[in-house]
């Protein structure tokens, strides 16, 4: 039995490495994915292009607007003269927001009343717009506070000396400079290993069926179980190799740290690959052409990535969808990846994720084996 298994494994490996296209798709797409994600994926909001329309022309309004020019979050590109200029600026996406100060701004401040600051913003990128509004609010609150103190100090010096003074000292743990790459590079390892292992597995069996060689295999003394192990084991190894190559590339090229233990990462990878192989195998038993296999893989991969917390926080999803994410092995694998790379935590923290992936892996593999038996009969 071991001998038969060995033969099947050898056959699969020869297949995999003799084929120029398969070799190509093992190496190039994963590395390209890592490069694209490492460079392009970022939710940071800096240098928001801003236009300014100051009708007040007072020292106060100038000082207020000065704070925007000084902030790295905003970049004041245009000084406007009238409101009529606003629509075309926003329509042509030359600026994302316009700050507008009405006449009487300073007057209201001096009297201690509410002075409005009008902001017109382009909401078509709602994420950036929301973050920008947050920054504007902060600058405005801080400005009003400082202004009040200045006013009081001018009338009664020394008052400012004892004025309460609170600051937030933020200390990001694990990722001191809050770099997007540190978030996305470990995550992309999970998505690309899912994509490559699942499609390779799904294609492998379907291809043999399409060409007709699956029937040839079935007339040999190889048992279905041996066939499944022989078909999946090479891809498990390919997946592991993929993870190692991309992890090394990511740490060397993007300088993402690796703080945990390699053992925990590999254990998590194997458990995760079990479910990826299971789903791939399941797809290959259902489909009769490679095109079907591909479309069906795609049908699984897209929600699996979207709902995994790869780029979009799970906590912000509707409750029903959040529950659904528990069926997604990638969700747990991403916790393991980010935990071992960035946080440096071990099994004492990550065991629930490992258990979850074991359960999901066992379930999909069992299901796939049962279906596979049926299609062979």
């Amino acid at each position: 039995m071991i001998e038969r298994l060995r033969q099947i494994l050898i056959k699969e490996f020869i297949h995999l490495f003799r084929d120029r296209h398969a070799r190509f798709s093992l190496i190039v797409p994963p590395l390209l994915q890592m490069l694209i994600f490492g460079y392009a994926a970022s939710y940071e909001v800096n240098h928001v292009s801003t236009a300014v329309l100051d009708f007040d022309h007072s020292p106060e309004s100038r000082e207020f607007l000065e704070r925007f020019s000084a902030s790295r979050r905003f970049q004041v590109r245009e000084l406007l003269q009238n409101e009529a200029q606003i629509p075309s600026l926003l329509d042509h996406r030359r600026v994302a927001l316009v700050l507008q100060i009405q006449p009487g701004f300073a007057e209201l401040l001096r009297k201690g009343q509410t002075a409005p600051v009008q902001v017109v913003l382009d909401g078509s990128d709602s994420n950036s717009a929301l973050i920008a509004v947050g920054y504007i609010n902060q600058i405005a609150t801080r400005f009003a506070q400082d202004y009040q103190l200045q006013l009081a100090d001018r009338l009664r010096p020394a008052l400012a000396t004892f004025a309460p003074n609170i600051e937030l000292q933020e200390r990001p743990w694990y990722n001191a400079n809050l770099e997007s790459r540190w978030f996305f590079v470990p995550g992309v390892i999970g998505t690309l290993v899912l994509v490559s292992v699942m499609t390779l597995t799904a294609f492998a069996v379907v291809r043999e069926r399409e060409i007709g060689t699956l029937e040839q295999l079935m007339v040999t003394p190889i048992s279905p179980a041996e066939l499944i192990v022989g078909k999946t084991l090479p891809f498990l190894l390919v997946g592991l190799a993929n993870v190692i190559v991309v992890a090394i590339a990511g740490t060397l090229w993007f300088q993402v740290p690796f703080r945990g233990s390699v053992f925990v990462l590999l254990l998590g990878t194997i458990l995760f690959l079990a479910s990826a192989l299971g789903v791939g195998l399941l797809i290959s038993t259902i489909c009769s052409t490679q095109q079907q296999a591909f479309s069906l893989s795609f049908f699984y991969i897209t929600p699996a990535i979207m709902l995994s917390g790869f780029g979009y926080p799970i906590a912000s999803m509707p409750t029903a969808l959040q529950w659904f994410t528990n069926l997604d092995a990638l969700r747990f694998y991403l916790v393991v990846l980010r935990g071992t790379f960035i946080k440096g935590i071990g099994l004492e923290v990550l065991w629930p994720q490992m258990v979850a992936m074991t359960v999901l892996g066992a379930a999909t593999l069992t299901l796939a084996t049962l279906c596979f038996h049926k299609t062979l009969d």
């Binding site: 296209h21 009008q118 909401g123 994420n127 902060q138 609170i166 933020e170 990001p172 979207m306």
Partner: protein, 377 residues
């Protein structure tokens, strides 16, 4: 070019698509699946950020501050702990995303006017949520600080006033800053990238793999007739999917539709031609289904997701990456989609991206034809 021969090829392709009912079903369900996962799953705004607090003072002032965190919609004050170790453990296993530490001499410092610094330990392994959390925490602290300062000035009978700045934000194009309005219009570009590049390249590559392409070539059909004939049914499918996407966006997700239907149709048609040409080119270049699907994934699906401005704003990408986005057809199409849905721009405004797409499509069809000629020789 002979219309009868062209239609014959198309008819054959239509038969192939219709007979493969599973693939057809998948293609028809694709917009629905992508729309629901992306429309519901993508919400970048962080709500209910899990907060742990370590209150080293336990005074009235520190409790007032914590109450402000509790009442904020952005934070869930999960637990108040009594030592650093509990904070560290909670950050490690993800039970807390933000930890607030109030110093033991908080109220004394407030009273003396010495800086009273609140520490915020944030989980930087998810840098986007971390950044939002810091911003919101600064907002909470700023409003608390303003209240404390006003109280202090009032108590010391300072001859001052209490000015307030109110930020009045008017959002254009997406008035309630909803994530879905930002995401859903762009989904059509992703669906078309899948249908256009991936499925086309697979069908054409299959003909090469099976050798039926050679049979086709030995008939009197010209290469352009083969290209157009094979792509015509997929063009119809792609346009149908776009219509489904638009219908779901407008009637299910209630995304406003402000532009012209003509602009949407024309833009979609040209984009589809570009992307079908790309798919054909890939399949002729590889003649192999697995390789075609992998290259399609890397050149069409991922870039239209990541480099097109679909979720990640292009102007926030590194300057070195930005030029590459011009090579992505989806970049122009996303501008058209967002304009047609949210901005309501007329055809004239869209001239730029439309012309870019026409050029793109011309180049793709030319490349497809060239490489087809070569592989015949």
């Amino acid at each position: 070019m002979n219309l009868r021969r062209l239609l014959a090829i198309s008819r054959k392709e239509v038969f192939q698509v219709v007979r493969d009912s599973r693939s057809l079903l998948i293609v028809l369900l694709m917009p629905l699946m992508l729309m629901t996962t992306l429309g519901y799953g993508v919400n970048l705004d962080a709500r209910h950020i899990r907060v742990f607090a370590f209150d080293r003072e336990g005074s009235q002032a520190s409790q007032d501050l914590l109450k402000r965190f509790q009442s904020s919609a952005y934070f869930d004050l999960v637990a108040i702990v009594t030592d650093y170790r509990a904070l560290a453990a909670a950050l490690d296993d993800g039970r807390c995303q933000l930890a607030i530490v109030i110093p033991y001499d908080f109220s004394a410092r407030l009273h003396d006017g010495r800086p009273a610094n609140i520490q915020a330990l944030v989980d930087g392994s998810d840098n986007n949520t971390a950044q939002l959390a810091i911003g919101y925490a600064q907002g909470v602290l700023a409003s608390y600080g303003a209240a404390v300062q006003a109280e202090y000035l009032r108590k010391s009978n300072a001859p001052t006033v209490n000015p307030v700045l109110s930020v009045e934000a008017r959002t254009w194009f997406n008035e309630d800053l909803e994530s879905k309005n930002f995401i859903v219009p762009g989904v059509a570009a992703i669906v078309m990238a899948v249908v256009g590049v991936l499925l086309t390249s697979l069908t054409v590559a299959r003909e090469w793999e099976r050798g039926t392409m050679e049979q086709l070539i030995s008939t009197p059909v010209t290469s352009l007739e083969i290209i157009i004939g094979k792509l015509l049914p997929y063009f119809a499918l792609g346009m149908f999917d776009t219509a489904v996407c638009a219908a779901i966006a407008v009637w299910w997700f209630q995304v406003p539709f402000r532009g012209s239907l003509i602009a949407l149709t024309v833009g979609s048609g040209i984009y589809l031609i570009a992307i079908l040409g790309l798919g054909f080119w890939i399949s002729v270049a590889t003649k192999h289904q697995l390789a075609a699907s992998q290259i399609g994934l890397v050149t069409a699906f991922l870039p239209s997701f990541l480099l097109s401005g679909f979720t990640f704003p292009i102007d926030q990408m590194p300057v070195g990456v930005q030029p590459f986005t011009y090579l992505i057809a989806a970049r122009y199409y996303i501008v058209i989609l967002k304009s047609v849905f949210l901005r309501g721009s007329s055809l004239g405004f869209l001239a730029g991206p439309l012309i870019a797409l026409v050029i793109y499509a011309a180049i793709m069809v030319f490349l497809a034809k060239q490489s087809f000629h070569k592989s015949l020789a």
